[in-house]
């Protein structure tokens, strides 16, 4: 799975440089252990919400690489029919993909409230980054989640940089796992997929037992810049990036572990790589060949469950039909 996420993100990088993907594109290569490890620690009936660095989660939550890449290229086969783009992908029990920094955290606490209300022992993983961690609405969410004992796992993906600002320059306290104050917190090695999985399992069990929210700080790293508009080397050194790649790459760490424990041979792992490459190539083919959404559908999906109506275009004579 990590390999698929890695290859998918690198393909997105390629497509972006070819200008087939436009606008925002925030890649998570380097952080694969986070999305994959978390998914392994929860059930498909649990819920997850994150910010804009969301392609990995979109995949681990069940969408295909095809649908994800086609959404990035803005085609009708995209998971949001080309209406959302990189930051607005949704799936069952996956609430995006959110563009406004920090806004997803109260949303996640609200999803946790629904979990508690429905009484089905589901939990909500609510993710945010080291940058968003300093926002006021995060603390509002902490307060209400703790007060009402919501089954919310707050997860700070600390990749050391909020856009171009290092954590030391941004936060009075960089102990993000402690920032929840009255909420218990753990610091987790976000480059080790098994560590992430176990920590997630522990956190989920805590919430399911009705003990209220819990906080996890995943210490991780992104190889790319903040987004495709950021080369990522003006605020950190190439040496630093190289060092993480050679010592802490999540895929390498797992591979080494599996080979050294005789859980898999180098050849078996190579086979996986080959399959993944094929899957990504197919998906990229689809994403480049699929047509753009039809213009007639521009006005669709304004309201849910509503009789058709008309949407005004650039002038009063241009009208688009809107159906739900």
């Amino acid at each position: 799975m990590m390999q698929t996420v890695r290859r998918m993100e690198l393909k997105a990088d390629q497509l972006y440089k070819q200008k087939i993907i436009r606008g925002f594109c925030h890649l998570c290569d380097g952080q694969e252990a986070c999305c994959v490890g978390m998914e392994a620690g929860i059930n498909p009936t649990d819920h997850l919400i994150t910010a804009y660095r969301a392609h990995g989660f979109t995949f681990t939550r069940g969408l295909s690489v095809r649908e994800i890449l086609a959404e990035l290229t803005g085609r009708r086969g995209g998971c949001a029919k080309g209406k959302g783009g990189s930051m607005h992908m949704y799936a069952k029990n996956f609430y995006g993909g959110n563009g406004i920094v920090g806004a997803q955290v109260p949303l996640g606490a609200g999803i946790a409230l629904a979990c508690k209300y429905n009484g089905k022992d589901e939990v909500c993983l609510t993710l945010y980054g080291d940058g968003a961690a300093n926002q006021g609405q995060i603390f509002e969410a902490y307060n209400m989640a703790a007060l009402w004992k919501l089954p919310c796992i707050f997860i700070c993906e600390n990749n050391r940089y909020g856009m171009g600002t290092s954590v030391e320059r941004a936060a009075a306290s960089t102990d993000y796992y402690k920032r929840g104050d009255f909420i218990p917190g753990m610091r987790v090695d976000g480059m080790d997929v098994l560590c992430v999985r176990e920590a997630t399992k522990f956190a989920a069990a805590h919430c399911r037992a009705g003990k209220g929210p819990i906080l996890m700080e995943l210490q991780t790293y992104r190889y790319h810049g903040h987004s495709m508009s950021d080369p990522g080397v003006s605020y950190r050194t190439r040496e630093e990036i190289q060092e993480v790649r050679s010592k802490s790459d999540p895929i390498m760490l797992l591979k080494d572990r599996m080979v050294n424990s005789n859980l898999a041979s180098v050849e078996e792992l190579k086979e996986i790589d080959v399959e993944v490459r094929k899957e990504i190539e197919d998906a990229a083919q689809f994403a480049t060949a699929d047509p753009e959404p039809p213009l007639e559908e521009l006005g669709y999906h304004i309201y849910s469950n509503e009789p058709p109506f008309e949407v005004r275009g650039a002038n009063q004579w241009i009208k688009f039909k809107s159906i739900s």
Partner: protein, 270 residues
Amino acid sequence: MGFAGIAVGAAMAGLRPICEFMTFNFSMQAIDQVINSAAKTYYMSGGLQNVPIVFRGPNGASAGVAAQHSQCFAAWYGHCPGLKVVSPWNAEDAKGLIKSAIRDNNPVVMLENELMYGVAFEFPQEAQSKDFLIPIGKAKIERQGTHITVVAHSRPVGHCVEAAAVLAKEGIECEVINMRTIRPMDIETIEASVMKTNHLVTVEGGWPQFGVGAEICARIMEGPAFNFLDAPAVRVTGTDVPMPYAKILEDNCVPQVKDIIFAIKKTLNI
């Protein structure tokens, strides 16, 4: 921000929350959750994720609460695709619209009025039912008339009805339209009325620039009713200043019955 987001999240996960702002002035802090998290989501997700939430609370001027607590948000929320915005005037509006808002699968902003909470109204028989609904997107003609169309929402509807009663004694018959819904606006009812009366005055509590009246005038110009106007459409609005505290100043910052009467007579060239 915190609780508004929690309410939106709960709606996304399948509950049907009602998020109450003590007044809509406070919603300005939380407006990101209303617009970016609630209003736009169904569209951005390509129809996958709807948000069945109601945001309600008092809107607009109250009495002596000064500038930060007196703003009208009808134009702000009415601007955004993906939202529905309703504005009740009387008791049956309040009941019918809140029920429709809750049953609606989309984000609905209900702009109530603090000064109207305490006003008693005759409650018609059918409104007593627990399934009494007022459709969102449909205006109501509160008073039939032939000489001029007067359109308002919320508390000013009452002022328009009063103004119409005064003018009736002088032989001027006003058709008073209670918008009930700001978005989607029922422009058809207004157009049909203007095509009958040939004159239009809009009345609102909010500031004049880029307001509800401005939108009505623009749409009238673009539609069939324009050719039926015998005079330019006229707007009566709140005064274009932050709301002052002193009573005499505050009284002159909200449209009064006399201002509406004056505007009607000017439009009719009387």
